[in-house]
């Protein structure tokens, strides 16, 4: 018993040490940004972000708020296409991060944003329930009639990318359901109600051990670019721009990379 406790203490101490080490490096960030917070960043912004950014942007929001006391970042996550439609109908958003250039272009064309910048890339992966009931281990297995495949609808970016993968591979996949966004697609797999789905690499990673990822070969994989822009209608454009810059900064890039995104 005692030995176990000792080992645990040692492990904890080591962990604490490494944490302090990490903290040391981010300390410099903290000081630099606390000077920026004294330069007057405050207030609230609402960020409309693609559903596939849920985990990474939530984390980015938390660290942004920590580095800029007095600021609040609220998120609305949904399919990029739905968000673009909402923004063009006058939804009060300050920043838009889209999972496809197409949906960003819709917002730019409507005059609601300009100069979007691509901040990340994402590729597709097959997600299967942890126990992989249909024994899916390649793209071809998705064509099996007995395999229940769920995809995003063709009207949302992840659905477009999934179908691009099938086109590249020259296969025909008939899904049992076209879901409204990538998260609802993934949840059908997490619940075990579907055998497989094609979602972003980052979503497989975010789902942890509830799903298993089956890689799609690079030569047939499809990737999508994530553009971000501050919106014209923003009532706190300064803070909105600061958040956009934060996503584009090295800190932002590191966090996005750890979520599985690729550098643009």
């Amino acid at each position: 018993m005692r030995r176990h406790t000792l080992t645990a203490t040692a492990v904890l101490a080591a962990a604490a040490l490494s944490l302090t080490a990490c903290g040391g490096s981010s300390d410099s960030d903290d000081t630099s940004s606390s000077s920026s917070s004294s330069s007057g960043l405050s207030g609230e912004i609402t960020v409309f972000a693609a559903a596939s950014l849920t985990e990474s942007f939530t984390a980015l929001g938390t660290s942004f708020e920590a580095e800029n006391p007095g600021t609040t970042v609220t998120f609305s996550f949904a399919a990029s296409s739905a968000l673009a439609e909402q923004i063009n109908s006058g939804a009060p958003a300050d920043v838009f991060a889209s999972a496809a250039t197409k949906n960003m272009d819709q917002v730019v064309d409507a005059g609601n944003a300009s100069d979007p910048v691509t901040f990340a890339n994402n590729t597709m992966e097959i997600a299967v329930p942890a126990d992989n009931p249909a024994k899916v281990d390649s793209l071809d297995d998705l064509t099996d009639k007995d395999t229940k495949v769920v995809l995003c609808a063709e009207d949302v970016p992840c659905g477009v990318s999934a179908r691009a993968v099938f086109d590249n591979a020259g296969i025909t996949v008939t899904p049992v359901s076209n879901e409204v966004d990538v998260k609802s697609t993934l949840s059908k797999i997490t619940l075990g109600e579907a055998d497989a789905g094609v979602v972003y690499v980052t979503d497989v990673k975010a789902a942890g051990d509830k799903v298993t990822g089956v890689e799609i070969p690079d030569d047939v994989n499809a990737s999508t670019a994530y553009p971000i822009a501050t919106l014209k209608g923003s009532e706190n454009a300064e803070l909105a721009k600061a958040f956009e810059d934060y996503v584009l900064s090295d800190t932002g890039a590191t966090q996005l990379e750890s979520a599985g995104f690729a550098k643009p």
Partner: protein
């Protein structure tokens, strides 16, 4: 047979306000605001509708398929609600057993439950890994989600309470004397139910059915959660409209108009009955 089981306060002379029944002035302004508030979104839909492209948008096979599926599944859901909901309403209205009011509260829960929650609950009960659905899959290799049955079940789950509530209300206020008379004349309980009770509550039965049908037709959350969305099988009109909105708002508006038209027609049909009976809703 015209059951006169209550003072017929509901009877009205059309077009003429009888003395003392005129809407009091202080009520008039807020009533107007309420009416405008409820009608404004509909006006928005009508004004923004792409009238010129309407015929083309509506003749798209996917839209027609979705509408057809919606009409069929809503009708099936109403049928199931009648078949099982009316007996349930009867039991709730007439039973004196303890716990009956708790049961009543529980079975009408879907009225207030967010439909997505209902869909999730159905998935956890009847899905391939659900507490009942798991056995269904294990024994027969059949799983409900992604089938048209799942659509019908989801819609029934959400719509049936509307029927139960209106029928139960009618049963409670119905004249028991007629049933008792039938019994003393030698009618067996089921015969009494069929030949006396049902005709007695017919107006509420119709009103409840139309309400349930309209609710099933508009169902979105429970359906997409439990049944998913696939053109021709599980993609109902509301889901089709939602997905269209992502890419082609004009088409979404046009299709919304159709759904609106069908619902208005159904509720219009209901209005006559509603005015004169009081459905408990």
């Amino acid at each position: 047979m015209s059951p006169i089981n209550r003072p017929r306060t509901g009877t009205r002379d059309r077009g003429v306000d009888r003395p003392g029944t005129r809407t009091p002035l202080p009520l008039l302004a807020p009533a107007l605001v309420a009416a405008l508030f409820l009608l404004l979104p509909l006006a928005g839909l009508l004004i923004r509708a792409p009238w010129a492209q309407l015929p083309e948008l509506l003749s798209e096979p996917e839209a027609l398929e979705a509408l057809k599926l919606s009409l069929i599944s809503a009708t099936a859901a109403t049928g199931l609600s009648l078949l099982f909901g009316v007996p349930l309403a009867f039991a709730l209205a007439r039973s004196r057993r303890p716990g009956i009011s708790l049961l009543r509260a529980l079975v009408t829960l879907p009225l207030v439950l967010p439909p997505v929650v209902g869909g999730l609950a159905l998935l956890l009960a009847l899905g391939r890994r659900g507490i009942v659905g798991g056995y269904l899959y294990e024994w027969f290799g059949f799983s409900l989600p992604y089938t048209v049955w799942a659509v019908i079940i989801a819609e029934t789950f959400v719509a049936m309470p509307f029927l139960v509530v209106s029928v139960e209300g009618a049963l409670r206020t119905a004249d028991r004397g007629l049933e008792e008379a039938a019994a003393t004349l030698g009618s067996k309980p089921f015969a009494t139910f069929r030949r006396v009770t049902l005709p007695l509550i017919a107006p509420s039965l119709i009103a409840g059915s139309v309400l349930a049908w309209a609710r099933a037709l508009g169902e979105f959350g429970a359906t997409i959660t439990f049944a998913g969305s696939f053109p021709g099988t599980t993609q109902t009109m509301p889901i089709h409209i939602y997905l269209k909105l992502q890419n082609d708002p004009d088409a979404a508006i046009a299709l919304s108009l159709v759904l609106l038209l069908v619902s208005v027609a159904a509720l219009g049909l209901l209005r006559e009955r509603w005015m004169n009976t009081g459905t408990g809703l």
